[in-house]
Symmetry: C2
Subunit: 363 residues, 2 copies
């Protein structure tokens, strides 16, 4: 006994009426029913009205899946995500990225299907997504997912991977961005520096840094090298990219090495760090310099306004979606897009209080 709000059909039929039921009710063939909806000019006015009346009576609506199957398209765009929906949706970075994707979907009249890993596997999630194309987030080109998408013949675009031949992708100049951030802090004269970075996940041990994080670390190393330093000369902490983790990491950082500057690989982490420093009664940037990465909208609202690396996250989403749509339409287009980054100096960075005095670039 189901107590669903359904069951309006006077015939008392259990399941939804199909075109067949309408055909029977109107005394015509099933083809005629289809014509009544899709090519009304092929039927006489009388028959058409009779069919539509019967459809109305039975409250018939064509089945969405069947129509998609026949049409060969879903009017839906998929985003293959590396994390759970809850994690992704509470992350402002993804909010902005998806906004960009959403802008294009809005223009094209497409829906947006968020596809998180199924039982911790992105690969397993793919067969459950009925979409015309995928935007794949944070995945290397040599992963099985790419092969799977190839076999399926579904158009796709990689985001935040490394540019690779034959695989369309949208990337950001992470190396340059991280370089600029570290260069800025070094140029200000800081030498006791903490690097607040993002946890590379369990695969890191076997594979090393991958994707954007690998490029950022490379940029950091380049900047340090220019000042005669190496990664070993900075205090490296890796935590998940949440405000809370940034908060706690900054606290334990201050308790141990007490750096004069904290270079965070994400604005969220930087916000948490600023919170922690305020909590300790320290002034930013008077006592400690903090820099972020991403330039989220919040970064210009916080006090002090955050010095950070601007990457056009929304543009990245838009570009990826544009690329994907031209792939879906089979248009030829340059498959790689590289987006720039640049330093935005605001109020959270300054020279160290009692610094060694040596400044000037090009150390």
């Amino acid at each position: 006994m189901r107590t669903t709000s359904a069951g309006t059909a006077p015939g008392g039929g259990r399941s939804r009426p199909t075109a067949n039921d309408v055909a029977k009710a109107a005394g015509v063939s099933r083809s005629a029913v289809s014509f009544a909806f899709n090519s009304p000019e092929k039927l006489s006015e009388g028959t058409r009205d009779r069919i539509l009346a019967a459809a109305q009576e039975l409250s018939y609506v064509p089945n969405t899946l069947a129509r998609m199957l026949k049409a060969g398209q879903t009017q839906s765009l998929g985003v293959l995500l590396p994390q759970n929906l809850a994690k992704v949706l509470e992350n402002p970075y993804y909010a902005r990225f998806l906004t960009g994707v959403g802008q294009v979907c809005d223009e094209q009249g497409y829906t947006l299907l968020l596809t998180p890993p199924l039982r911790d596997s992105m690969l397993k999630a793919i067969p459950y997504a009925a979409v015309d194309g995928f935007i794949v987030c944070g995945l290397e080109h040599d992963r099985g997912e790419v092969a799977e998408l190839r076999r399926r013949g579904i158009p796709f675009v990689l985001v935040d991977s490394s540019a690779h031949d034959g695989v369309p992708s949208v990337d950001v100049d992470d190396e340059g961005g991280a370089y600029e951030a570290m260069r800025h802090v070094l140029d200000l004269g800081h030498r006791r520096i903490a690097l607040l970075s993002i946890d590379p996940g369990p695969e890191h041990a076997e594979r090393g840094y991958r994707g954007p994080l690998a490029r950022r670390i490379a940029g950091i190393i380049r900047a340090l090298a220019e000042s005669g330093m190496g990664l070993d000369d900075v205090r490296l902490t890796e935590v998940p990219a949440t405000r809370m983790d940034g908060f706690h990491a900054a606290k334990s950082l201050m308790a141990s090495t007490s750096p004069t500057a904290i270079v965070a690989m994400s604005d969220i982490l930087a916000f948490g760090a600023v919170d922690a420093l305020h909590d300790l009664g320290l002034n930013v940037p008077g006592d400690v310099t903090v820099t972020g990465y991403d330039d989220l909208p919040e970064s210009s609202w916080t006090r002090p306004r955050l010095t950070t690396i601007r990457q056009a996250i929304t543009t990245k989403g838009r570009t990826a979606a544009d690329l994907l749509f031209s792939a879906i339409r089979n248009e030829d287009q340059h498959p790689h897009q590289l987006l720039g980054t640049h330093l935005v100096v605001r109020d959270s960075s300054a020279r160290p209080a009692a610094g060694p005095g040596l400044s000037g670039p090009g150390g």
Copy 2:
């Protein structure tokens, strides 16, 4: 001439291989191919391996839509939205709501389909969403969309509507929340009050306030009435719920009536108002009291920390999704859920500077 990355099939076939192609290649019937994947025990080891080998060779994968059609389920949950994807995704309120929905989807192994209006019509969007159920946001029960969902026999849950018989819904005690916010400001002694409210949209003229906004206004009126005031005694401004709009509205508000308190119907608007007041060199709450509505996470990070009305947005999303899943599973459950609200007093509200001195509750 297509230059897609597809086309691995040695046969040179244009489209993706089907189970039929595999059957031909392996010299068996199509049924056998299906069995090889879904009930391997029904086939002899040799045949099964031969089929799987052929499938591998042709890089065959079962079609997602066809499987969904036959199975009668999509493993996907839909959210029917009243606004464009871009607008929704950049709105922190929705970010939190969808996080709640996402939590449940993660547990259930479901994907999440965001369905914005198609050509400005939520109704037209419904047929293009292949989902097992819908969460419908910000819609009254008497709208055509509800009827359409009924005809389709798709389970659904309304959110932010008004509780109504037979239509499952999740609602928040908006009347009580708005009452508390205004009560708090009145109790502090404020009498020159501005109400910074959300633009009710184009339908407002013919229909009046609807949904949560109607209830909030009602709560405001109740609180005012207790102090012998009416809506006419406060300055009412209605703008879209963005930080920028809050900023500009507060500026023009201060230029005209110069209220001692701004009661905002959304935290976002309150943030913008605080920005504007700081910009004018005014102190919050010293010169002007500001209260918000929603209690977004940001509200406890801003300086001053925002006095606001807490509504459990994430819980609302979770509850809606839970309700929807039990509807999908045909379990009987109480179809209405009402979530409470409560005042969170932080640092953005205080007695007016040179106020009339009269205080005490129960005015």
